[in-house]
């Protein structure tokens, strides 16, 4: 089993996985192939920042500043959530090979 996402890794939502505002129930969900994941505020905050360019550390640093919370705490709070998304293939990490191709 792969461990928690490392700070230097760059998360990306793969094609077919997208954030969606649930206007009937309120709040945000992650829509994925034949699955829907209800997001809490932290989950939504992190995934809103995921752009396939910035690393997890950069994202959590930005959130730490925006929410005036310790970055370590945000990393800790989101580690399980991100790992679960990754094991379902709802979240991926930009690999060096594709990063090179992209540049």
């Amino acid at each position: 089993m792969r461990g928690a996402m490392r700070g230097e890794e760059i998360p990306v939502l793969p094609r077919g996985v997208r954030l969606h505002q649930d206007r009937v129930r309120g709040g945000w969900v992650l829509l994925a192939p034949e699955r829907t994941v209800a997001l809490d505020q932290v989950g939504h905050a992190i995934l809103s920042e995921v752009d396939g360019k910035r690393s997890l550390s950069e994202i959590t640093a930005a959130l730490a500043e925006a929410y005036n919370a310790p970055q370590d705490q945000i990393m800790q709070d989101s580690a399980g959530f991100l790992a679960a998304l990754r094991s379902k293939r709802f979240l991926e990490v930009v690999t060096e090979v594709t990063a090179e191709v992209a540049t």
Binding site: G16, R18, D22, V24, L31, P33, T36, R89
Partner: protein, 370 residues
């Protein structure tokens, strides 16, 4: 019912037409004719109603949805309504040009069925010569365009030995997910239990293979597994609970709590030609018939698992006991459980049974050459 929550998923049976004639087809025995099918505008309106009601996931199914010439327009309408669009297809009827048009229309995901891992097996089960070759071509186009893909392998006594290869194929195709679905006996499949029922040993081996593959392919391939129902002791949580999370719309606009609900003879179903989707979901008689737990009798009524599996499948209880409010005989608490298990063994031991194919008229289709 006041505590009824909005549905999450809708299965749109766009058509019952299909080039395949699978002996386990889940469509009803009486198929909707093409001239009764809802048109593009009617479906677009239903997609908007669904999104307004709270549906998030739309499964475009059939029959074969690619048999609809307006599939691209239907996908675009569903995306406009704000729905996540999943195409459930055999691949037959899709060309590279159509797939690119579906991409442009915003199709989110494709679920591709697999009848077997060799042309001989797949074409025999699907009753369609050349189908496997075409499907492999379609899988390649899907990969090139970059659609997220789920492979849906339907397994039974004839092809369960191909499970290891099906798992390999999913990885080779770049699928993120595979559904390993042991055939469920509804619709046409009930006619083929002698030919399709897996043996108990096969069912156990499939479970072992799936568990090993889940460990081996962690983070590569997500495996959803539907075990052999008749050989289980705990019933499936059918539809996540009747009228709780999903609904089904037939080609002519009837709204069903599940695709097989019409096999329960005393239920009546509302049409979207007469009532709104919202009214039907919250007030429709068929939806309220088995919603929640009020309808239950013992052993379900006093069971600790009654809100876990909701007594199993209503249509299966109907088919196997003649009473849709009985405990699903798959459950070890059911008085009919022992009889079902011996029945499963007997079906599985029917070595001579031939496949009974379906075609549009419901009669046997020609068997492809060996």
């Amino acid at each position: 019912m006041s505590d009824t929550r909005p549905p999450i998923a809708m299965l749109a049976e766009l058509t019952h037409r299909c080039p395949l004639s699978c002996p386990y087809c889940s469509n009803p025995l009486e198929l909707t004719r093409q001239d009764s099918e809802l048109n593009t505008e009617a479906w677009a309106g239903i997609f908007r109603q669904a999104a307004d009601l709270g549906v998030l996931q739309l499964h475009l199914s059939g029959g074969e949805p690619a048999s609809r010439r307006d599939l691209e327009a239907l996908v675009a309408a569903a995306r406009d309504a704000g729905l996540y669009t999943n195409l459930i297809t055999s691949g037959i009827g899709l060309s590279e040009r159509r797939l690119r048009a579906l991409d442009a229309a915003g199709l989110d995901h494709i679920q591709l069925s697999l009848q077997g891992t060799t042309p001989e097996m797949a074409d025999e089960i699907g009753g369609y010569r050349g189908g496997y070759k075409r499907k492999m071509q379609v899988a390649q186009w899907i990969g090139e365009i970059g659609f997220p893909l789920t492979l849906n392998a339907v397994l039974h006594r004839r092809n369960l030995h191909q499970l290891p290869r099906a798992l390999e194929m999913a990885v080779e195709m770049g699928a993120r997910r595979i559904e390993v679905a042991t055939v469920q006996f509804h619709g046409w499949a009930l006619k083929n239990r002698d030919a399709l029922m897996p043996t108990r040993v096969q069912a156990q081996e499939a479970t072992r293979l799936v568990e090993a593959a889940r460990a081996r392919l962690k983070d590569v391939l997500v495996i959803d597994y539907v075990p052999a129902d008749y050989h289980s002791d705990v019933p499936k949580r059918c539809m996540g609970g009747w009228g709780s999370t999903g609904l089904n719309v037939t080609p002519e606009g009837l709204v069903l709590p599940c695709h097989a609900a019409q096999t329960i003879p005393h239920l009546t179903f509302d049409s979207l030609r007469d009532r709104s989707l919202k009214e039907i979901w919250y007030e429709g008689a068929a939806f309220n018939a088995y919603r929640g737990t009020e309808w239950m009798r013992d052993p379900c009524k006093s069971c600790a698992r009654k809100t876990v599996d909701f007594g199993g499948c209503r249509c299966q209880a109907m088919a196997l006991t003649g009473d849709a409010s009985a405990t699903d005989p798959v459950c070890h608490h059911s008085p009919d459980h022992a009889a079902l298990q011996s029945r499963a063994e007997a079906h599985a031991a029917s070595e001579e049974a031939a496949l009974v194919y379906r075609d549009a008229a419901g009669s046997a289709a020609p068997v492809p050459a060996e």
